[in-house]
Amino acid sequence: MILHELLSYETLRLVWWVLLGVLLIGFAVTDGFDLGTGILLPFAGKTDLERRVIINSIGPVWEGNQVWLILGGGAIFAAWPQLYAVSFSGFYLAMFVILTGLILRPVAFKFRSKREDPRWRARWDWVLFFSGVVPALIFGVAVGNVLLGVPFRFTYDMHILYEGTFFGLLNPFALLCGLVSVAMLVMHGAAWLQLKTDGDVADRARRYGSVAAVATVVLYAAAGVALWQAVDGYRITSAIVTEGPSNPLFKTAQAATGAWFANFENHPWTWAAPALGLAAPLLALALMRARRGGLALLASGAAIAGIILGVGAAMFPFILPSSLDPRASLTVWDSSSSHLTLFIMLVVSSVFIPLIVAYTSWVYKVLWGKVDGEAIADHRGHAY
């Protein structure tokens, strides 16, 4: 097949790096308000009816949202197999904890309202809380560790050896990143609740959301300063080959102070990403106070996008640096799938991602409007 030569390997790798970002942002923005709403559930909802209103606000959409994560897993597997192999096996126990949360969440949604017993329901409410807060925290912790570099290396046959521990992941910088993640998802969930509910629930969501928006800005700025002052970046020290085979060991790299800020210095326009990450939460805060839930949701979504893009801009072309053997670091140029696979996956994505966006938008349109507490009390039109 010659068709795939239409796009160079370099271009395809860049496109898939962007798509990796799109998937992460897609997941964080859509599933993010579910997780945030789950975290807020025990606090924004005081009575059983209020809690059911909150759960029903995400009831029809969480399944679709969670697919972003599954799709993210599949797309990383298909386009960045080494990233998939190294990160999922390296962060093994952390992944297990995330999985525990993500297994319990769908089940909690479905099972909670199937029995009247208040203790039964309270138990599932806390399950929803923990299965929101734990993945949110760990995703952030994982990003923090990626910025620090992860202790892995390859054998000659490309077996992956990971020499870190689970508790090694929980270092101060990574925990700070974890808190950024929790704060931004709580802000996002609060904006969603203001859009979808009214009365006491919306009021409480506004209060918690305002605090979370401020916390997001402060923690994100603190993480930025820590990254600047206390964290070494990585840089490639051999010639950069963008069209070569996907074997990380064909290059050399090393840790270097300030390397994560080199892209910002060389291309000042990339400052736009972290600037968005700092400004958008403040905008979300203002909009929440002005009781504009829908716009606040857009602003908090933009904040999430800015925060994630900022990480991507700092690290490019690194995707997963190795602190143990910097040569083994995975970069955009040496850890992708083959030229042909990247091309096929791009064609498939170009057909289906617009389709997904179209029908997802249609579903949101059908479900547009506030969740009706009275209808829930009467069991009309709501499933949970």
Binding site: P60, L99, P106, D157, M158, I160
Partner: protein, 534 residues
């Protein structure tokens, strides 16, 4: 590679996959049954059919949540526990998984919310479209998963790239049109339809025995019997096709399933019963049916099916070829990137590269396959025989149950045509007792397919023992215990909720879902107790 880690990784994968596969077949089948029922509702306008959709939809929803939750684990587990596998074949295997997400799972999961929440927000026809999209999504999902799985059984359209030390795709069309994948897809979704049909049939039979929800139960039974008969026949036909494909691509699997120790003169006999003994290489108390195996496996009277002993001897030769390929590969890999590859090594690798995987079987005994002794080569060839007795029995359980399902659904199909569904109480009792059996059959089928592939994770390409992540035994024990604990608790809760929903039945669901709260008004909810004219 530490054998404990391999064994534990396999145990965890089998545990989570078998568990996931408790929910998936019912989702696949029930989604179609719901769509059929709703189509009848939209075409006839009779509200009882909508009540049927809503009632079976509640059970569908409980099951669906479990399928989604356990499916996430499957999607992540390749990277977590099988990192060398993910590196080695991710270039091919990852694509169908990602396409499954893009094309199928997104569709299914997005519209399933609307299925439950959209009754009041959509027109009748729009809701019907939504239901069909859920069914389409879940069935397309199975297609892509089985394209991925089919490639593990018959790895077409890919070649090793020495520079990246992994398999890379050479012909994606061949991966898609893999005959093994196609046979498996139809076989597996048909099995899912059968699971759902027997589920609906059995629960409806229970209602008839209790004299409850008679109108709803009878209609559900009619749909289930007709659908189940077609599905169980399709399972058998495509199961036969899978067997035929095995005789082409996985001869050892077929020989092990049949406990065929030695090659027999064509057409070979089918061993209907017996006790396979892997040590002694014979089947005790075997009951043979002449000619049947040869006919099924080769569809001819004069093609031989090779026996286990012959395949092991052939395996030994392939391992020796593989060692030659391994040597050439090392020469090629030693060349610095960008420098020319020695033509001799390249020619050897092109000729023998297909056998490379067989040399990797030696890695269990020796780090460098080139240093292997003849005894080690013989031992590695013996390793190509999967455990015979579990395969032999799983296969017979699966086939026996499959025949029973055809008989059961055919019986109820005749009864429904004659409108005598509730005349024979003992038959209804059989239908109730049959509810768990399809699960036994599909799990047995999974064992036949995946245990029969051992010692390979990718048939002939990558041994299972090489594919695992380098994790600690304690770590693996912890996650196995964790999954086992969570899954057990969830299964108990799931079963309780299912039974509760079934015991409550459709009336509770449509009329009085609020048990305690005093109600100021009653809803105009349609009741299944209303006399039906259909």
């Amino acid at each position: 590679m530490d054998f404990d880690i391999v064994a534990l990784s396999r145990l965890q994968f089998a545990l989570t996959a078998l568990y996931h596969f408790l929910f998936v077949p019912l989702t696949i089948g029930l989604s179609i049954i719901l769509a059929i029922m709703e189509t009848v509702y939209v075409m006839t306008g009779r509200t009882i059919w909508r009540d049927m959709v809503k009632f079976w939809g509640v059970l569908f929803g409980i099951n669906f949540a479990m399928g989604v939750a356990t499916g996430i684990v499957m999607e992540f587990q390749f990277g977590m526990n099988w990192s060398y596998y993910s590196h080695y074949v991710g270039d091919i295997f990852g694509a169908p998984l990602a396409i499954e997400g893009l094309m199928a799972f997104f569709l299914e999961a997005t519209f399933v919310g609307l299925f439950f929440f959209g009754w009041d927000k959509l027109s009748k026809r729009a809701h019907l479209v939504v239901t069909w999209l859920v069914a389409l999504g879940s069935n397309l999902s199975a297609l892509w998963i089985l394209i991925a799985n089919g490639w593990m059984q018959n790895p077409v359209g890919a070649a090793l790239n020495p520079q990246t030390m992994r398999m890379e795709v050479t012909d994606f069309g061949a991966v898609l049109t893999n005959p093994v994948a196609q046979a498996k897809f139809v076989h597996t979704v048909s099995a899912g339809y059968t699971v759902a049909a027997i589920f609906v049939l059995g629960i409806s039979a229970w209602y008839l025995l209790k004299g409850r929800h008679v109108a709803l139960a009878k209609r559900s039974m009619t749909v289930a019997a007709a659908f189940g008969l077609a599905a169980s026949l399709s399972v058998a036909v495509l199961g036969d096709e899978s067997g035929y494909q095995s005789s082409e691509h996985q001869k050892m699997k077929l020989a092990a399933i049949e406990a065929m120790w030695e090659t027999e003169p064509a057409p070979a006999a089918f061993t209907a019963f017996g006790f396979p003994d892997q040590q002694a290489r014979e089947t005790h108390y075997a009951l043979h049916i002449p000619m049947v195996m040869g006919l099924i496996g080769t569809r001819s009277l004069n093609t031989e099916i090779p026996g286990i002993a012959q395949l092991v001897r052939k395996g030994e030769d392939t391992i020796r070829d593989g060692v030659v390929a391994y040597d050439a590969l090392q020469t090629i890999r030693a060349v610095a990137p960008g420098s020319p590859v020695p033509a001799a090594a390249k020619a050897v690798f092109e000729e023998k590269g297909q056998a490379l995987g067989y040399a990797l079987l030696l890695k269990r005994y020796v780090d460098d396959p080139r240093q292997a002794t003849p005894a080690q080569i013989h031992q590695a060839a013996l390793d190509t025989v999967p455990p015979v007795a579990p395969l032999f029995w799983s296969f017979r359980v699966m086939v026996g149950l499959g025949i029973f399902f055809i008989a059961l659904t055919a019986t109820f199909f005749v009864l429904s045509v004659r409108r005598t569904l509730d005349r024979h109480r003992w038959l209804l009792k059989v239908a109730v007792l049959a509810i768990p059996l399809p699960w036994v059959a599909v799990e047995a089928g999974w064992i036949v397919a995946e245990l029969g592939r051992q010692p390979w994770v990718i048939e002939g390409v990558l041994p299972t023992a090489m594919a695992v992540s380098h994790l600690g035994v304690a770590t693996l024990l912890a996650t196995i215990a964790g999954f086992a604990a969570i899954y057990t608790v969830l299964l108990v809760i799931e079963m309780k909720l299912m039974l509760k929903a079934i015991r409550q039945g459709p009336e509770e669901f449509t009329v009085a879902a609020v048990p305690a709260a005093p109600k100021g008004r009653t809803h105009a909810a349609p009741s299944v107790n209303q006399p039906q004219s259909a």
